[in-house]
Structure formats: C-alpha cells, structure tokens
Symmetry: C3
Subunit: 168 residues, 3 copies
Amino acid sequence: MPYTLEQLSDRQDLVDLLHAYCRAVDDNRPDDVADLFAEDCVLDYGGDYTNLVGRNLARKFFTGGTDRLYKRSAHHVSNIEIGFTGTDGDGRRTATGSTYVWAWHEFNQDQFEAEMPNAWVYGRYYDRFVHHDGQWLIAARTFRALGHHDWQSPVTYIDREPRVSPIR
Amino acid sequence: MPYTLEQLSDRQDLVDLLHAYCRAVDDNRPDDVADLFAEDCVLDYGGDYTNLVGRNLARKFFTGGTDRLYKRSAHHVSNIEIGFTGTDGDGRRTATGSTYVWAWHEFNQDQFEAEMPNAWVYGRYYDRFVHHDGQWLIAARTFRALGHHDWQSPVTYIDREPRVSPIR
Amino acid sequence: MPYTLEQLSDRQDLVDLLHAYCRAVDDNRPDDVADLFAEDCVLDYGGDYTNLVGRNLARKFFTGGTDRLYKRSAHHVSNIEIGFTGTDGDGRRTATGSTYVWAWHEFNQDQFEAEMPNAWVYGRYYDRFVHHDGQWLIAARTFRALGHHDWQSPVTYIDREPRVSPIR
C-alpha cells in the first residue's frame, strides 16, 4: 500500500509526538507531557488505575509518576504502527497507533514502605490521535502489558490468543 | 544518498511488515505470522534449529513457539536498515533488511522438565523481501544472536570481527 | 509541521547513519565506526571519560571499547528525533539529533581484576550532524545516561528536572 508524501509527513509528525512524550516523561516535565494530550483525552492504563478523563487529570497522573514516584526512568518506544482514520465530527483529521514501549524505572524509595526494586515493563500503547490547531495530540491512550520484570503493581495484559496446544 | 518518494513509501511498507510480524507473534497468531512469509520462504534461526523451507513449515515452527512454548512474549524491533536490490527472475521487486530485535519470553512451564526462567534474546534478523501480488513478504530470514540473558538453548551468534587487542 | 520530501530523505539518511554506527560497534569494526564521525569531531561520553577531539582519538576510543573490553555487545537505538539547523560557516548542511540507546555488554574478562558482569546502559545520544562530501557525519556526540543495570563505571546522567513533590 503506497504512502503519499502527506501521509509520510503526518506519520513522522506522529512519531515525533510519541518521542516527545517519552523525552518529557524521562526529563520529569509532567506539564509538557500533559500538553501532548487533547483537552478531553481519555487514559486507560489498566492495572489498579481507573480511567482518567481530561488533560488536568492526566497532568496529575503524570506528575504522580515522573515527579513523585520515579527517581529516574527510560521509555524506549519502537514498533510504531500508524493508521489514518479520516476526520472526526469536527472535521479534524484522526489517526490510530500501536506502539511498543520498553520502560525502566528507578523509584524514590521514600514513597514506599518496603524497598522498591528497579522495574521494567514491556507493553503497547494503543492510541487515538487528533489533529487540533495545527498539531497532532493524543486523544486517547490505552496501555496494555506484554510482560514485566520486578514491577510490583498489577498490570492488565494484552488480549493474547488463548493457547490451543495440548498441555503435557 | 537521497531517497525517492517511492523508496520511502516502500521502506515504510517493509517497516510495517516487520512490525506486523512482532505484533502477530506476541498476540499468539501464528497463522498470521506465517502469512507474512513467501510460499517458498527459507528460515535459518541458527542454534539447534535446522533450516526450514516453505510457509507450511514456518507455520508449524511459529505455532510451536508462540502457542506451545511461550506464555507471553515481547518482540521489540529497531535499527531497521533496508536496501533495495532490484528485481528477481520473475520480475518481482526485492529488498534486503537488517533489523535488531530485543525479545523477551515467559514460558509455559508444563512444556519443560525443569523450571524455565524468563529469557531475553538480543539479535539481528537478516531478511530478504519480495514484493508479490501487491504486498511485501519475507522471502528468507536468518536470525543471529548478539547476546542473551537466561536463554537456555544454544544460539548462533553474528560473525563478530575477532579481537586483535592483546590479552593481558 | 509538514515535512518536505528532502527533509524525509535527509532524516532517513541520518537514521541510516545512527544504525550503521550500532552495527559497526556490535560487529567490532572500530575503524568503520570512526569513519562515521567528522575529522574534527567532539565526543563527550561523560562519566570518567575526558572529552575527545578528532577522528583519530575517536578511533582509539572505540577500539578500546569494541575490540579490547567487549566480548559482545548490542546497541538498540530508538526515539530518534532529528532537527534541521541550516548550514555552518562552510555552507555545509547541519542537523541535530536526540536518540535513545539501550546497550548491552558482555566483557572480555581478562581485562579486569574482578569478575565483570554483563551490563546494560540506557541513555541518550545528543548529536550534531554535518553533511560533508555527500554524506552525513556525526560532528559531535554527547552521551548522557537515563539509567543502568550492573554498569561498573561512573555515568553522567541527563539533566532531569528536580523533584518538587514532598518527601514523606
């Protein structure tokens, strides 16, 4: 399926957006993270988190992560798949994305009762994007885990196809 | 070396193919994995694996991995280098690729005699691609390891240049 | 911000350069690594390393790493952000980059007094690029760490925003 120049350009803009997200998270700039989301964004991070609606709640959520809980972090994204989905009711262009993230965290120990080890989480961001006022924003983000190492909180996994091979 | 729009579009199609491979593997959809390979594909995964020829053997191989052995997996690809290599004897466009993969695995314990720890493998896919019936397919894949962590089977490493620095 | 075809092509050339760097490092081809840097390049790897100026010192530095110290390595890059910054005093095109690297190392044990465990480093390359004689080169590279696992030498971390949340 050939891509047009406009699609390749839009695709690169969306990739830039995903990278800006990681950079702002790892720099501990939660206000800048929140500015990459739409005013009425929806966040579904699974696990024990309830869904969050709106940029203000997103800002609180990211501040709680990058500033309060994490001493350091590293969010490596890859496997970025973008689909263009036309326009929304307001005539704004829309797109969807599936992105792999490999995220490492070192924690502020004073926030926990017990020693909190460094933890890795591997997963996918399923995103909806909207082009608003000349820039692409994340309109909705769902995070689902592929796996983890030493992550202490519950995670919601992707919907992996159930096994059909015989147990032995 | 400037890229043409057609090359950038083809490159993105090939990147999409590599990402679709990872997504289908981690989703445990081995039939969809096999459909990304050419009918007469050749797979060389090294280690104890013999070379496999044909999509049917590929399907069995991937089913044995994603459905039987892996409880969960995460295949993160990066460092994707694509070269365009003209056309084959049937006039189909061809390309080559070198892709880094960082693959994490959690195993179905009932398939092993002893406890099987989660394992990471780092390596490269060396691919040949062919454009057949309007879509790019993997015509041949060779996997070579860069390293691993707790992987219990033999691996075949890349041909790293031998050391010339003195031993001390 | 729409990209032109020339920018997308240049961007891909720079991505190719970053990937060629990783491949040459992990192949233990330090001469080929050095050839990707400008004659008067500046390397700032932080930690205990002093800044290095010039391709000859870069070659020595990379040889000391890939050939002498590392038995194997795996450099996975992602989150590549490129900015075009016009031309330099010699009329050569310039660009900047921020790139995430996830680097794994297995060491030549004979180079160390004590057992040296495999080590992971996560960080960012901040690069300046220059287009010289028809190809993009790395004119200056600064490495800053996001985190690490079992890396035994000092690292210089990124300038993360200081925490403002209360300690409890």
